[in-house]
Symmetry: C2
Subunit: 354 residues, 2 copies
Amino acid sequence: MRTQWVELGERSYPIYIGDGVLEQGLLDRHLVADRALLVSNETVAPLYAERLAAPGCEVQSVILADGERHKTLQTCEQVYDALIDGRLDRSATVIALGGGVVGDLAGFCAATYQRGVGYIQVPTTLLAQVDSSVGGKTGVNHPRGKNMIGAFHQPRAVVADTGVLATLPEREYSAGLAEVVKYGLIRDRAFFDWLEGHVEALRRRDPEALAHAVAESCRNKAEVVAADEREAGERALLNLGHTFGHAIETYTDYSSWLHGEAVAVGMVMAARMSVRLGWLPREGLDRTTALLEAFGLPTRPPAIPEARFRELMSVDKKNRGGQLRLVLLRDIGDAVVTSEFAAEALTATLLEAV
Amino acid sequence: MRTQWVELGERSYPIYIGDGVLEQGLLDRHLVADRALLVSNETVAPLYAERLAAPGCEVQSVILADGERHKTLQTCEQVYDALIDGRLDRSATVIALGGGVVGDLAGFCAATYQRGVGYIQVPTTLLAQVDSSVGGKTGVNHPRGKNMIGAFHQPRAVVADTGVLATLPEREYSAGLAEVVKYGLIRDRAFFDWLEGHVEALRRRDPEALAHAVAESCRNKAEVVAADEREAGERALLNLGHTFGHAIETYTDYSSWLHGEAVAVGMVMAARMSVRLGWLPREGLDRTTALLEAFGLPTRPPAIPEARFRELMSVDKKNRGGQLRLVLLRDIGDAVVTSEFAAEALTATLLEAV
């Protein structure tokens, strides 16, 4: 087992990474009272809920419908009802078992139930293990914008069992690799190189390669979060590809594209725009596209009219004073967040999507 | 104008108190971008919204239905919709103009929109000026518990115009005085004595007496919040009378009792229970009852079966590990929060309510 700490003073917490960590009784270390609520979905709960048994703690559960379109305030009400029905008070713990949707939603409920109770993330998808479960961003979607309603609320611990990834559907596994590639692109060129050299090992989910990829991703994420918990600066770099990607997800009603797939396309769009601006060498775009394709990810956007694409991007949380801000690349391993770019470069990039 | 600071490091903020402060352009000092959303209700907006004009800032508005029963997640959706429709981004400001319902709900929306935007409280009731607008507690009700969904999120400023209290309906004005009396009871015996000596002046809303009562209440609240922002200890004392009071409000579906009225009864119940326990001299109970009655407040609970009363109290946010915690009195000006009390004293107090 590898343990990566997210250093946030008295709110610091560990990420436990490894094959089988789900069954190592790690939850017990982080449950402060004798009541907890397990939040999971109908797909994941039957597979793993029983393995999580926390002796000495009465764990009730609420099982939600599976899918991004259920990441809404309405679904939160099911969790609030379960918390109140179970008479869980401020000392109780919420355990989020599932992918990013479960983690973000359960985390938001924990952030807002009685003005905040503790929670533990138990991510079961690659995407959740390397990204959404770490860093305390919680939230739900609004019909007109992803994660528009949310809170910063750090978990007490993250338990990332890489063993559960063996049975993840191919498409979801690939989607998770998009966020892994992202860390290489924004701040870790050596990791990007390593990924290029381990495409085959990762595609066949070699346990050692997988544990390394998850641990390195978590290390990068933990460093960024420790430096900028509330996204006043550097943390915005983690949104590489996300402004384009969120627009794609919203346009397609969160139904046909997985988040990681939309992010993969978004990263290629950001890279393409960066090349247009003369910031990124063409080779950087080619290597990015090739690596994402090697991981089975899409690299071209669906047909979205330019005006609509722009409108969907305009509600992004990074925007300030009505100005669009984007994460762009200066090189592999070197990203910037900026609203200072030639407007034509964006227009041309969006027009390619039609 | 009096200015009372709430000292919370870099999140410190001023409370401006006085007759006419609404029209002194104070908002402008605290708006960081050129867009804001005014949240108010159909009763208050026609009276004061125009006076708030902030030159240089485009202020959109959303007007909610009036009343505690609208303090729900469903009403929040109207605010989120207005924020997104207005393309307000993270630099925008929410302005809450109204009583406690508007302030708590708008504050919660500000806490959770894009994971947190700034807000300014402009309380227009006595209760909101002396209590709910100060200290960063935001939230909405769940059908089975008051303020069960919420967040700690400090405002950027509070603008408390005591002039607007002149036209407050008598019943609402009295309800606000209950929270004023509370500060005397829990930590400020001199203020309690002063209140006893100024009953007539306060009943006729003498501007000088009123400004003093609001300012002293805000000073007490600011001191408690600065010492214990997240209610790890001392802040729980501010809940004197609230566990009983919330039960009354929930039982009556937030419709027939005003919050302050329920708190007045709750404080008398807490005092009565404290006398039973031998903690509070009988004279303390009598003075409390007399002062509240002099302010036109109820001091006897409605008929609620004991088992139901207990059940309603069991969802209180102060409870830990299933144990009921109550704020009780050792003297006027000296309160404790504890779960260490003889069960019979509570039972007898609740039985009096039938």
